[in-house]
């Protein structure tokens, strides 16, 4: 089948195939995807934190972070929470199904600036997805970084993603602090909301970068917590999510002030967005 496609059309997705589907939680699924164009797949390069627009033709397009690291390029991995029309449709996909993909988009993490420093990941629920890509990238380049601590919380043990690789994270040199909102039978890790655990852990802001992602309410209280611990605005990095359409800085939807989350983000430091917190 020949495609009638023009060159250099940023709206035109590449065709891709779902290779594997993993159930993370009751409403989060992970897709492992490869581009159909083998050469393009082999040459595909991206920064941790960059995103892709997944197309299910007939339903639409939606944005997800590429949560596999650039150091592992057999496939591109996306984790999708079922919340709306398009994610519902993505959850129906099986291995072998064809989708469209526009990637990589967005800025990604400036991990070069984090080299030699201590790292604090703070993730809540599906918000762990964008942190995973950087976390694995750092594990794969472990010598470049100091202490790596990750606080990861979810409502219940059943709502934690990537449980199957927690051991790999730990053996890779990550101090992993897991928490759930309330007591559950058999749960041996921490209990409490992420901001509470943060203040209990009280990591020193000295030479440390905090990378935060989670639901807006968690971000809000984590920001308070980090400021209390003495983190400077530029030491706090978050990756934002907004409703996106074009993904290429044109359609005008995903702005926070004059910044477009799709091209100027999704990764921002707190200094860049703090005047606009009403619109997060």
């Amino acid at each position: 089948m020949t495609d009638n496609k023009s060159l250099n059309n940023p709206y035109l997705p590449d065709l891709a195939t779902v290779q594997e589907v993993i159930d993370e939680t009751a409403n989060i699924r992970t897709l492992r995807v490869t581009l159909d164009d083998k050469e393009k797949m082999a040459a595909f390069n991206f920064r941790p934190g960059q995103v892709g627009q997944i197309s299910v033709f007939g339903t639409g397009e939606s944005t997800f972070v590429i949560n596999s690291p650039p150091t592992r390029r057999d496939y591109l991995q996306f984790s999708v929470m079922r919340v709306g029309e398009i994610t519902q449709r993505i959850h129906q996909l099986n291995a072998g199904d064809r989708i469209g993909l526009r990637a990589p988009l967005g800025n990604g993490f400036q991990y070069e600036d984090m080299k030699g420093r201590d790292i604090l990941f703070i993730g809540g629920g599906i918000g762990m997805a964008p942190l995973r890509t950087l976390l694995l990238h750092m594990i794969d380049n472990r010598a470049d970084y100091g202490d790596i601590t990750a606080i990861y919380g979810a409502r219940s043990p059943k709502d934690l993603c990537y449980t199957y690789e927690f051991e790999e994270w730990k053996t890779g040199g990550v101090n992993l602090v897991l928490t759930v909102d309330s007591e559950f039978p058999g749960w041996k890790e921490r209990v409490g909301f992420v901001p509470t655990i943060l203040s209990q852990e009280a990591p020193s802001p000295l030479n440390r970068i905090a990378i935060v992602c989670g639901p807006p309410i968690m971000i809000k209280f984590v920001l308070f917590g980090l400021k209390e611990l003495g983190f400077e605005d530029r030491q706090i990095i978050t990756t934002l999510e907004k409703r996106m359409k074009c993904g290429i800085g044109i359609c005008g939807r995903c702005n926070v002030g004059s910044k477009y989350v799709c091209v100027d983000g999704p990764v921002f430091n707190y200094e860049q967005i703090k005047g606009m917190c009403q619109e997060l």
Binding site: N8, P10, Y11, L15, R243, C246, I248, G249, C251, N255
Partner: protein, 355 residues
Amino acid sequence: MAGKIFIALDRLRSTLDKLCSKIDLLAPASSQGNKTGPTAFMPYRSGVVPVLDRQTTLPLKKILLPQAETLLRYEYCKDPQDPLKAALSLDDRSEVRPTLVFGARPCDLKALSTFDRVFTSGPYKDPYYIERRKNTLFATLVCREADGACFCSSVGSGPADMEGSDFRITGIEGGFVVENLTEKAPDLFDSLGEAPTQDQQSEAGRIIEDVSQYRIGTLDLRGNEEAFRKRFEDNEYWQKMAAQCLSCGICTFVCPTCYCFTITDESDNLRGERLRSWDSCMFYHYTLEASGHNPRPTKLNRYRNRVGHKFSYIPEKYDGLLGCSGCGRCIRNCPVSIDIRQAAGQLKENVCDRQ
């Protein structure tokens, strides 16, 4: 570049009849076919009554950014041997024909200077817009029809501003002088009429000079980026400015510089199209996320975003250029008489602009 002709009023339609056999022609007209009712740029063919004595109700943006446009077509082809397998093909071809817009106004063209930056200056370029823009010529009227809602001089333009125009149309006694301004189609009009007489030329020259002196709108709305940032969290200010707002989409749909769009798949079973269509930041659904979270849930947030986009965000990105052409359509058409000159003009504590 010297091409100049005179079109007598009573020969306007016959001239346009000839012109539309040379190139696709769009001219301001009413869908009712007479001089009443709302006007827009419509395909001109013999019999259409051009309405050149007032600004069109709708701007010309749909010529370059149609209200709904196909970005691509997709088709699933089932494998007859194995119905579980389907081949998927995409097609993004589109056809654009050379077009002349006759009777645009400086405010229409001013808006295109904003479009040009948004759609063509990157980091990603919009191929659909670029193709249309490349194929469209503009013959622009020297505007003498400003009303109380107009404020083109407040945004760095003016009623004789010909930036972006390929031809200038000057209304004089008994007809129009049309002159070529660019290299794109210098002889397009040449065979359509006589050269203007010396008197007609000097009359047109006088009018252009006069109109160039007009100041339409007393405020200068440029340079408000810093003032907007300071106002951003002043909820009382925005509450006052947006209290009456009905959250309808009129101001954005009649705006020549509002370009924000949505992208949707419209499917007919195994095939369908991906459409881009006008959207409005005034709508609740515009920023509503699938989770139910909405970063701009109230009209206060949404109106602030509209003003900010035009008078702060766009200028920040594009060297001070505003996202507003001063055409006044949002003011004229607002059902509750919200006047954007107030919200933008008082950012720096100025009073409302009323010429």
